[in-house]
Symmetry: C2
Subunit: 421 residues, 2 copies
């Protein structure tokens, strides 16, 4: 552990705790004012942000980073406008803080309310996408949480420029600048200290990035983590499925966007309808440019199908590739998903209500869908507004994590002198 | 790490995961049938349970354990009846599993439901009270979670006898005996393995015991923990408090039962009413046999008051002792609680609605009360039925942890062929 990092990080932590206490009491209008001013600053500073992004891109190119990574890192005037718009979208969300989640009166007259409060201080560790700086900062501010942002070193100039706009927004609303702090050092030791050395300052950690980052955070963190691992999502086409709906859902679930965590990675087809449905399903996917890796039945149904290995059933391709196999009915589909899936999102296509209920009840995933595309696995599509990720954990938050999932609660009890007997 | 423990514990873990999958689908009636049969078995086996308890007591006496510890360990016919009755009380609770927590329809016609599901496998690590075996086993069963119980070695015969009754209940309802497992070894290494070596089997850990146990679990656990540390609870008597209500609330909050976590440990009195309220408040407590450790004003108000040290403001006495001081109004009370409190439960006594709202909003504790005793900090008093503890964490569960807090949720989405644009 480098000497310089610890005092710097502890100072951030202390300042975040103090800011969180003030932010927890901030009225909705002040938080929204800060977000509106931040969005305006992002638009006004677009040229400075682009210049900062050029420095990051030049450094990344000098390191010969992959084209995909450069694309994640790159900002354009259009992407900056989208970032500003998403900050405004967060401002437009209902305030999750102060909501009365439940209320009941006891026989002794006590009125008990469960009221939403912020979690406190959230630490966010992310990789190359600089937009996370604005998205995560806005979501934490709206939910009344102070945030410590640790961006990937390759996006540090872009993230710093965006962070300045968020701080300008806080100033415009007379909120403490420490509500949204960016770790000022690129030293790797800062991450380790956030994971295990700041338990008295950080209430929750959110990793945003690849599997190795999320796994490291979940393994080393000494505070609670909201993390999401991969989305190895399944579409099961049941014997009672309409062929046209099955083809449309499977194609949309796989090919609409192949790089998102809700994209389907495995197609399961009921043996009882394989003769009629398997061929057309595979043809639609193959004709759309999707590579199919299948079991023997799938290979027999279309000569373009490649043989699937055991590893394929576990794989999140995030690409125009799908694994496909025949299963003996809904229970075999449920068993396949339990064995190979990642408990993220699975869909069944069937007109049989009983079969659908069996699938929806017995598949233990964050999101289960009947006659709909797995690509609806998204906070925006759920009507929750922007999301910070989709949790595959069971604890605290499962599925899309929006502002409401970034809250805790307290019990407020009102009496008239009640004593406990 | 002793060689024998790991395979034994891993076998428990594997069996628990399999049992949890079956239990998650069990209908309410089967779970209640198992609990009713377990309660009947506890009554029928009372003499065997008492005999087992005698063995534990003899061993504890041979180790010259404290009277308090022996009392926690001791079972009587009356205590066994209370244990059976509490298992029946859990059976009478509404089933938390399968409840639709939220439901909404999207403009595209998708119906989205958030449905409560079990957490999975819960590990419970506790100390000498053998009744925890039945209480925790019943709460986990009702909430559809498989549980691995690790009792204190000094209660192992009593806990094993109670565990047999729970397993008999499971058998009567044709539920897997592995739904409720008791760690069969007293080796200390079993605890360490539950904390860090069983992440693939255990979803949540619940420590039940003293501060050292809870702190060890929170420090070493590699899975989420529902823990509660101490309850350093405060009663603040405001300038607008009725004296008689203030005296009654303070006396009940401190003296009704001094050993529970909701017992008041510090009395704060507004300087603006100290002349009229401080003396009578202290007198009521002192006359009831409570030791008072106070600041200068408190010592001047009653000669029986001992001087308080800085450490007293931090102390959870769990005894007939209270710290008392004068503060400059509600904001000073809020500041004292923020500095010295444990964020468990605090009460304000006042007839001023605005002052009460300020206290209820700004005191960041799991439970805040207006004109009521802190001793209402209890799942039963909240109407939640039995509780496994009171969480002072902010993540997942805060305040009383009953069956509803031992659940996760999933999103069930019903469509008619919707595709994502």
């Amino acid at each position: 552990m480098s000497h310089g990092v610890v005092p710097v990080m502890d100072a951030l932590g202390k300042a975040a705790v103090a800011a969180a206490q003030e932010l927890a009491q901030a009225p909705t209008q002040r938080k929204n004012q800060a977000l509106a001013a931040a969005a305006a600053a992002i638009r006004a500073q677009a040229s400075l942000i682009l210049a900062a992004n050029e420095r990051d891109l030049a450094a990344a190119q000098a390191q010969q980073q992959s084209a995909a990574r450069l694309d994640r890192l790159r900002l354009t005037a259009q992407r900056i406008e989208a970032i500003a718009a998403s900050v405004e979208a967060v401002a437009a969300l209902p305030d999750p803080i102060g909501r009365v989640l439940e209320e009941w009166r006891r026989p002794n007259g006590l009125l008990i309310q469960r009221v939403a409060v912020p979690l406190g201080v959230i630490g966010i560790i992310y990789e190359s996408r600089p937009n996370v700086t604005a998205d995560a900062g806005a979501l934490c501010l709206k939910s009344g949480n102070a945030v410590i942002l640790r961006c990937g070193s390759d996006s540090r100039h872009s993230s710093a420029a965006l962070h300045e706009c968020l701080v300008a927004g806080l100033a415009a609303a007379a909120l403490p600048p420490q509500c949204i702090q960016l770790v000022p050092t690129a030293e790797r030791a800062a991450v380790g200290h956030m994971l295990s050395g700041m338990t008295q300052y950080i209430d929750v950690l959110v990793p945003r990035g690849g599997r190795s980052l999320v796994e490291r955070v979940q393994k080393e963190a000494r505070v609670p983590v909201i993390g999401h691992l991969e989305g190895n999502c399944h579409v099961y086409v049941d014997r009672d499925a309409q062929l046209d709906m099955a083809c449309a859902v499977a194609l949309n679930a796989k090919m609409r966007r192949t790089g998102i965590c809700g994209a389907a990675e495995t197609l399961l087809v009921d043996r009882a309808c394989a003769a009629t449905h398997l061929g057309p399903l595979l043809r639609r996917l193959l004709d759309a440019g999707c590579e199919v890796r299948g079991d023997r039945e799938a290979q027999q149904a279309d000569p373009r199908v490649q043989p699937a290995s055991e590893a394929d059933w576990y794989t999140e391709y995030l690409d125009a590739i799908i694994a496909a196999r025949v299963v003996d009915g809904v229970d075999a589909a449920i068993a396949h998903i339990a064995r190979y899936g990642s408990a993220h999102t699975e869909a069944i296509v069937t007109d049989n209500a009983a079969t659908a209920e069996r699938f929806l009840t017995r598949v233990d995933s964050a999101i289960v869908l009947h006659n709909a595309s797995t690509q609806f696995a998204d906070g925006g599509e759920f009507g929750m507004g922007a999301e910070i990720g989709i949790s595959t954990d069971r604890f605290h938050a499962r599925g899309p994590v929006g502002v409401a999932q970034l809250t805790s609660y307290k019990y407020v009890v009102r009496g008239s002198g009640q004593l406990r007997p």
